[in-house]
């Protein structure tokens, strides 16, 4: 709870910076503030569980562990903003404040104890994202991305809200522990499963799982690169964590029919995502499709809910850290470019070997090659899914991992086998620092998996 309050306070502080015209100091102060918030969060993790305001907010190990991940990701994203918004100095406090409020929404989304709180959280997050998507106001593509995301997103919010209403109608409460207890009773009104399905659909939209993925490539491509980084790392992780919490807490045992739906959505997501990614020449679009396929992988955790929260935390951390590293390099390479086509990456291995190595490492992590975190994420996921008895799903997932190598390597090949098209551009130190830190964290995850795995 303190974490959430502190984050909102920090966001308001950001807005005040504009009034006092202290924009230069904003990013260092926010990063320090976020580190302090991380400290608070660790405190709360140790003191959990705690209940606030009639169970509106429940701070559990699950919520505080995931909040910690969100805060770390936000620190990276905010620091990247320093260079990215160089040309928008006057607006910088707005951009940063929106990101902090987005983080507040994210934390609310994993620590809700009441569906009303959940909906508030998701709206805070989504509206912040709509704004960020269209934040490059002079670019027609960014406007398109924002509008598209807004229209599709509000549609999904509507479905979500409808689902919440149906559940309220069936159970007479918004409180998820009460809903969970009531759902154990033998006679459930038909509204309840329908409500669950509607919420599920709304969340599938947010994580961009097939068949609710159509917005993702366009929005990813059109948004400013830093927003894309945020969507594909933070927003995706938040959505999948929330979905996991919703499914596991509200619905005590998952029926075989529901499991079948998850299996189908998961297979469809990874297959469609991977096959479409093979054909992309825009790196942001490619990562959008890769994100869709990763959503399919993450959905597999819902099949063995009893002890898979640690695996989900691990998978999302490895995926998001690799994503941050990859996007840092993309931001660096495409800073002065019109678009994010693969051709821009030609010869990066010669021009800037360190950045090329980092991008290679993060792509290898996403492809699931040892010793990176991504490999262990997939390993733990597969182990658990086989334990739950879905060996066929694991085999399909493995085949998908092989397909994914195809497009990840397209980028690696472009960096190492093509001649550079222009002279070396200088790299801001902050990009180096963030890329190195995030990839080192990713490798550390791979070397010491127990550290994250045993948090939950």
């Amino acid at each position: 709870m303190n974490t959430l309050i502190a984050i909102i306070g920090l966001g308001i502080l950001c807005l005040l910076f504009e009034i006092f015209d202290a924009r230069k100091a904003i990013i260092p102060i926010v990063v320090i503030g976020l580190l302090a918030v991380l400290g608070l969060d660790i405190n709360e993790y140790n003191a959990s569980p705690n209940f606030y305001y009639n169970n509106m907010i429940v701070v559990s190990k699950f919520s505080s562990a995931f909040s910690g991940l969100f805060i770390i990701l936000t620190i990276f994203l905010v620091s990247l903003g320093h260079k990215f918004y160089e040309n928008h100095q006057t607006k910088i406090s707005d951009f940063i404040a929106i990101k902090i409020f987005l983080l507040a929404g994210a934390v609310a989304m994993v620590s809700f104890g009441n569906l009303a709180m959940f909906f508030l959280g998701i709206e805070v997050l989504s509206i912040a994202l709509y704004v960020l998507a269209s934040s490059n106001r002079l670019s027609i593509k960014s406007n398109e991305a924002g509008l598209k995301y807004f229209l599709m997103g509000s549609f999904a919010s509507g479905i979500l809200l409808f689902g919440i209403c149906l559940i309220y109608g069936a159970m007479g409460t918004f409180d998820i522990t009460e809903i969970s207890e009531l759902s154990r009773s033998a006679e459930l009104p038909i509204w309840f499963p329908i409500g669950i399905v509607l919420i599920f659909i709304g969340m599938l939209f947010k994580i961009a799982a097939v068949p609710f993925h159509f917005w993702a490539p366009d929005v990813y491509e059109g948004s400013p690169a830093l927003t894309t980084a945020l969507m594909s790392t933070l927003a995706k992780v938040v959505a999948i964590a929330t979905l996991y919490k919703l499914v596991t807490t509200m619905n005590a045992d998952i029926s075989p029919a529901f499991q079948l739906v998850i299996v189908i959505v998961s297979i469809a997501s990874m297959t469609v995502g991977n096959i479409m990614a093979l054909r992309q020449i825009n790196v942001k679009r490619m990562l959008a499709f890769s994100g869709i396929s990763h959503a399919g992988f993450m959905l597999m955790t819902l099949l063995s809910t009893t002890k898979s929260s640690g695996t989900l935390l691990y998978y999302t951390s490895a995926y998001a850290l690799a994503g941050i590293a990859a996007f840092t390099v993309i931001l660096y390479v495409c800073k002065t470019k019109e678009n994010e086509d693969v051709t821009n990456f030609h010869g990066l291995g010669k021009n800037n070997p360190l950045m090329a190595a980092i991008l290679t490492a993060s792509l290898l992590s996403m492809a699931g090659i040892p010793i990176f975190g991504g490999f262990f994420a997939k390993l733990f996921l597969f182990t658990q899914t086989i334990q739950a008895g879905f060996i066929a799903l694991v085999i399909i997932a493995v085949i998908n991992s092989i397909i994914s190598v195809g497009y990840y390597f397209k980028l690696i090949l472009a960096m190492y086998t093509k001649e550079p098209n222009e002279a070396k551009i200088p790299t801001p130190t902050i990009y180096y620092a963030i890329a190195v830190i995030s990839i080192v964290l990713n490798i550390a995850l791979g070397l010491f998996p127990s550290f994250v795995l045993d948090l939950l």
Binding site: I386, I391, V398, I402, F409, T417, S450, L453
Partner: protein
């Protein structure tokens, strides 16, 4: 002292090489690889003295993964092969200038590190990690420092990577499934796990996919010739000299003992595939116009025979296979080095453009001749010992296997001598061919010394590997 020291040296060496800069890289790499060789010999001594050189530490609690390295005779001999060939390969490249040499040599040492780990790991998952890790350096070595047209090379190397990765991911599923059954990834638990026939068959084929692609066994060999041709000489040597042996070693260490019933059931099919590789590789080698490709197909033929030896499941077959792995490792490195020397002088790999080298470079011609003869298993060479033992074991299974497998010697002699004739003899070539330099001659002399010493006196190797192989056969025959 335990085996993890060796891994640490190689890993530190890889980083040190990278930071030493382009000028010093090759020397630093050589130094570290020689230290590694020294350590492995010291480890062999401690092992012979009965000391415990294994290492065990818990790594991940759930699922239980441990950092467990065990060295028995079989691991040690592979270890020695790796650490003896690595300095040779590095030294052999001293005559060539590489762009960005620090990365190349760092990758070579890193690959040596990963392969050493593969031979040592006694935890299924640790083994898998090392197995996969060895793939990344060779991918970059072949991709960046390779030769020929970039597009074609890219295609060949990516095919190789995806092929191998695909195979090993199925092995990963097999390991995860086994973990399910045994509750542990440790090899001794995996040996004891009770599997139904059906489960064994599935696991057997999952392993087979990974190993057959790596070795390669027909029909999974399609990546090989192109990659050998396109990779730089050091890459080809690493691939053919050591990396192939990872697959063969894994068959003996992991596949056969874990799935004994399936291995016995499929024995004729597997030996048949191995021998098909012998005949196919030899016939295709006859028709090759590119020297490196010819050597690649000859390697396919030899490896086919080794694989057949592994799958005979008797002590002679396994022993012969291991001996042949070692000898093939040295000979193939020597042959590819000879091809590289010709390339350095003539700037070509096409056999038709060579010829008349002998009259200009008599020393090179005789060294090359010895390697050719060793490759066709002339008695007193190391290859003869291995090949003969494998053929003897095939004879115990079925006389026809031995007859067909024996064609390797006849066909091998035919294509190798024909190649020698076209490359070295004939009219004097207009181009100048300088004789071997000291560096080059030194590499050849070492390789030839190993081939003859162990060819005439293979007893120390036999004594080292036999207990380990007996142990594996006991595991194999325990569960009927």
């Amino acid at each position: 002292m335990n085996v993890s020291l060796l891994l640490i040296i190689l890993l530190v060496g890889a980083f040190a090489t990278y930071f030493a800069g382009d000028k010093l890289a090759s020397k630093v790499a050589l130094l570290f690889s020689l230290v590694a060789l020294g350590v492995s010999i010291a480890l062999l001594n401690s092992y012979n003295a009965g000391e415990n050189i294994s290492f065990f530490k818990f790594w991940v609690n759930k699922p239980a993964i441990s950092y467990s390295l065990t060295a028995d005779g079989l691991s040690l001999i592979m270890l020695l092969l790796t650490s003896a060939l690595t300095p040779l390969i590095i030294y052999s490249s001293f005559g060539t200038e590489f762009k960005n040499a620090k990365s190349l040599y760092a990758l070579i040492l890193f690959m040596s590190f990963a392969m050493t780990g593969t031979f040592l790991a006694s935890d299924g998952l640790l083994y898998y990690i090392f197995w996969e890790l060895s793939l990344i350096p060779i991918y970059f070595i072949a991709l960046i420092w390779g030769n020929g047209d970039t597009e074609e090379r890219k295609k060949a190397v990516v095919k190789f990577f995806i092929y191998t990765l695909a195979g090993s991911l199925f092995m990963l599923i097999a390991f995860v499934y086994l973990y399910q059954k045994a509750g542990s990834f440790l090899i001794k638990d995996l040996y004891n796990v009770e599997l139904s026939r059906m489960e064994q068959f599935w696991i057997f084929w999952a392993f087979f996919l990974a190993y057959a692609i790596k070795i390669p066994i027909i029909p999974f060999h399609t990546w090989q010739a192109k990659v050998y041709q396109k990779a730089p000489a050091v890459g080809t040597m690493l691939l053919s000299g050591i990396m192939l042996k990872m697959g063969l070693y894994s068959v003996i260490r992991w596949q056969i003992p874990i799935t004994p019933i399936a291995s016995k059931t499929y024995l004729p099919i597997l030996i048949g595939l191995g021998i098909a590789g012998v005949i196919y590789g030899s016939i295709v080698a006859l028709r090759q116009k590119d020297l490196k490709k010819l050597l690649a197909y000859s390697s396919l033929a030899h490896v086919g025979l080794i694989a057949a030896g592994c799958y005979t499941l008797n002590i002679d077959g396994l022993r012969g296979a291991v001996l042949q792995m070692i000898s093939h490792g040295f000979v193939v490195v020597g042959l590819f080095f000879a091809a590289e020397i010709i390339y350095r002088r003539f700037d070509t790999r096409v056999i038709a453009e060579m010829g008349g080298i002998r009259s200009q470079a008599p020393k090179f011609a005789s060294l090359f001749m010895i390697l050719v003869l060793a490759s066709v298993a002339l008695p007193t060479t190391f290859n003869f010992v291995g090949e003969f033992t494998v053929l003897y074991s095939l004879y115990q299974i079925n006389v026809w296997f031995a007859v067909l497998g024996g064609t390797t010697i006849i066909l091998g002699a035919y294509y190798m001598l024909k190649m020698y004739q076209h490359v070295m003899l004939g009219e004097t070539n207009t181009k100048v061919f300088a004789d071997v330099t000291f560096h080059e001659g030194f590499v050849f002399v070492i390789i030839i010394a190993v081939i003859f010493i162990f060819g005439m006196y293979p007893k120390p190797i036999n004594e080292l590997i036999t207990p380990a192989l007996d142990q594996i056969l006991r595991t194999l025959n325990k569960i009927q």
